[in-house]
């Protein structure tokens, strides 16, 4: 990608910086529950003292039923904070 193109000057690849708005497969809006999902997952991690937690019950509770939507949240790595260091 052209590094000096206008308006693109100081950004690296940002495809996965934020949680995708919708599920890639079915199109359901899943980003609106991301904050809550992350909060609950972190709480659970703290509670159990391990990073190896099961998130199925959290996703059920948030109304994310299909496995296509579930993988969107489960596999997402938020990169905005990492990218922001380089701007």
């Amino acid at each position: 990608m052209a590094g000096l193109e206008q308006g693109r000057s100081d950004k690296s690849h940002t495809g996965d910086a934020m949680i995708p708005i919708r599920c890639f497969t079915c199109g359901k809006v899943i980003s609106s529950v991301w904050d809550e999902y992350k909060k609950r997952a972190e709480e659970k991690k703290k509670e159990l003292g391990t990073d190896d937690i099961e998130v199925g019950d959290i996703l059920d509770d948030l109304g994310i039923e299909r496995y296509c939507c579930r993988r969107m949240l489960m596999s997402h790595v938020e990169l905005v904070d990492v990218l922001a260091q380089y701007t």
Partner: protein, 45 residues
């Protein structure tokens, strides 16, 4: 043409007579072009 130095973050004018690209303040060689003032129209797709 106005650029921004990635080393000292100062605004830098590039001198075309000088063969290379270099920040006159800190000597850093990486300069970035700033975004223009025009309104950019992008398709949402």
């Amino acid at each position: 043409m106005v650029y921004k130095c990635t080393g000292c973050k100062r605004v830098v004018e590039i001198n075309s007579e000088y063969g290379g690209v270099r920040c006159p303040y800190c000597g850093h060689r990486v300069l970035l072009k700033e975004r223009g003032t025009i309104i950019k129209r992008v398709k949402a797709e």
